[in-house]
């Protein structure tokens, strides 16, 4: 029974980590502009993140060392600075966007301007990180995030995707001159879904939860089922946007209009459900991004760390998160639209993805860490495939951003 609960809670966490402002924004735009033609990108990203999350959890469970620790130990300080720096830059943009998502969600519920609510959203994130135990951080937003399953309820309520829409799943309708935008959105989806912050967070979470070699079952189920559920949710948003927004000529350029699909299906309740779902997913993601930075820095530099500990028991860990949150909030309060920020964040993530993922190929084959649980041949081939995918995306991300006019 305890194992069942542990798995269930782990799955909820994975859902909360998968769907964030980046996934909402890219899914909404993808569905609105290209029907079901970008579901493949979401599925591809899902397979990749499932693999990465499983590996990072297995590493932490067997070795008692997190991904960031293993990078520093195995590759040295100079190399460690590369993924650290790229993560800091990507995450500061992402965090500013996620808090923006929280602020917009609160705005949709209260009618108050999101600019005014931004500091309150940032404060809420910080207070939670400062004092809440890991279990609350893990499970609170995730439980609330179950509301995202209402996307599929809305789809069913509307009678499912109409006949002409279904073929776009395997034969996307890309109009003349739209190819750059189509490919850019594909790259952005991959950058939004394959988020290294999730890998660093998950690996540290496994240590916070004191996983051991016997936790491999929980790890596998959490990675596959959790990420799978998250993906289903995001795909639900693509389908809903394709069914409702596309035919109305709506492009999904703001967070508020992405919720119109829910309103079309479920009326006033739909809009409220969308706002709550947006709040839960962005709030959960904000917590995970902040913590992943704290974890990455502390583990790489050798500081005491742990969300289960009081701030005074892990001072530099908490101080680093405070400083990072302040910087991200400063960027967010410049007033840049959260969707624009998240696209920049996803693009930058796509650009530096190979740097953050390359160490997996080495570490996961090191028996000093994994003992008899090193990668099998299939897993190594899959990891190499993900790395090649990440490299391709990194190569084309900036040119596509330029060509498509910034998404």
């Amino acid at each position: 029974m305890k194992n069942v609960l542990a798995i269930a809670l782990g799955i909820l966490t994975a859902i909360g980590g998968f769907v964030d402002v980046g996934a909402v924004a890219t899914a909404g735009q993808a569905g609105a502009k290209f029907g079901l033609g970008l579901v493949w990108a979401m599925l591809l990203g899902t397979l990749a993140i499932m693999l990465l999350v499983e590996m990072s959890g297995r590493l932490a469970a067997v070795s008692g060392h997190t991904y960031a620790e293993a990078i520093r130990e195995r590759f040295g300080f100079k190399f460690y600075l590369l993924p650290l720096t790229s993560e800091l830059i990507a995450n500061v943009i992402m965090l500013a966007a996620e808090i923006g998502g929280v602020a917009v969600a609160l705005s949709l519920l209260t009618g108050v301007s999101w600019h005014l609510l931004y500091p309150a959203a940032a404060l809420l994130v910080w207070v939670t990180v400062w004092r809440a135990p890991f279990s609350l951080i893990e499970n609170g937003p995730a439980l609330l995030g179950l509301i995202t399953l209402s996307f599929w309820f809305a789809i069913v309520r509307l009678g499912g995707p109409p006949g002409p829409l279904v073929p776009t799943l395997w034969s996307p309708s890309v109009g003349h001159g739209e190819l750059a935008e189509y490919l850019y959105l594909a790259a952005a989806i991959l950058g939004a879904v394959i988020s290294p912050y999730l890998v660093f967070f998950y690996s540290s979470g496994a240590r916070e939860e004191k996983w051991t070699k016997r936790s491999e079952g929980i790890n596998l189920v959490t990675a596959i089922v959790g990420m799978g559920f998250g993906s289903i949710t995001a795909i639900g948003l693509i389908v809903l946007s394709a069914m409702v927004l596309g035919p109305m000529g709506i492009g999904g350029g703001t967070l508020g209009e992405i919720g119109l699909g829910m309103a079309a299906a479920l009326g006033r309740v739909g809009g409220v459900l969308f706002a709550i779902a947006l709040f839960a997913t962005c709030f959960g993601a904000s917590l995970e991004v902040v913590l992943s930075v704290g974890y990455n820095l502390s583990q790489g530099l050798g500081w005491e760390w742990g969300e289960e500990k009081l701030p005074a028991e892990a001072p530099r860990f908490n101080l680093a998160m405070i400083v990072f949150l302040l910087i991200a909030s400063g960027i967010g309060m410049l007033g840049i639209d959260p969707i624009q920020l998240t696209l920049y964040g996803a693009t930058f993530t796509a650009l530096v993805l190979p740097i953050s993922l390359f160490p997996f190929l080495v570490i996961m084959n090191d028996s000093a860490y994994l003992e008899d649980q090193t990668n099998g041949r299939f897993t190594n081939i899959a990891t190499l495939a993900v790395l090649i995918l990440a490299s391709v995306v990194a190569l084309v991300a900036i040119p596509l951003l330029i060509l498509s006019g910034g998404g």
């Binding site: 190399f79 519920l109 209260t110 301007s113 003349h176 709506i250 309103a263 739909g270």
Partner: protein, 151 residues
């Protein structure tokens, strides 16, 4: 005598050569994509009119839903803040964008966009003002802009 030992990891040399190769590949692919890019993209005029038209369609739908009881007024109010922000400066962008069939069309669309943006700044969310007139304006502006974008 004190000697400080500094250690370099052997894996780093491999990583360094991989990074150099990746860097050169990025440059090559970027140039190739940019060179062929003109077939993959829309003109700036098509892009900005399409985006503006889409935002106005969203604004029109939001206004309609708010008055039909399909959205709370609080939601609509917050959503319109987003539309107003997205539409700020759109009229200037339309006039300045390359690829317009004629300057006359660009000016007309810019005027429409400006009027519609004014609605987005002050949407009529109660029954006591002319929300139907606003709705008509938003729908008309959206339709014309989307048509100009080739939609």
């Amino acid at each position: 005598m004190r000697v400080t030992i500094q250690q370099e990891r052997t894996g780093i040399n491999r990583a360094r050569s991989v990074r150099t190769a990746v860097g050169r590949s990025i440059l090559f692919v970027s140039l190739a994509v940019l060179a062929t890019g003109c077939q993959m993209t829309q003109s700036p005029f098509v892009r900005v009119t399409g985006e503006t038209g889409a935002e106005l369609a969203a604004a029109a739908t939001t206004l309609q839903y708010a008055h039909e009881g399909q959205l709370t007024h609080l939601y609509a109010q917050a959503a319109f803040e987003g539309y107003a922000s997205a539409l700020t400066g759109a009229d200037q962008e339309i006039i300045a964008a390359e690829g317009a069939p004629s300057q006359e069309l660009a000016r007309r669309l810019a005027d429409l966009s400006r009027e519609a943006a004014a609605v987005a700044e002050q949407p009529c969310l109660t029954a006591s003002c002319n929300w139907q007139g606003q709705l008509t304006l938003l729908r008309q502006a959206s339709a014309e802009l989307i048509e100009a974008a080739g939609g």
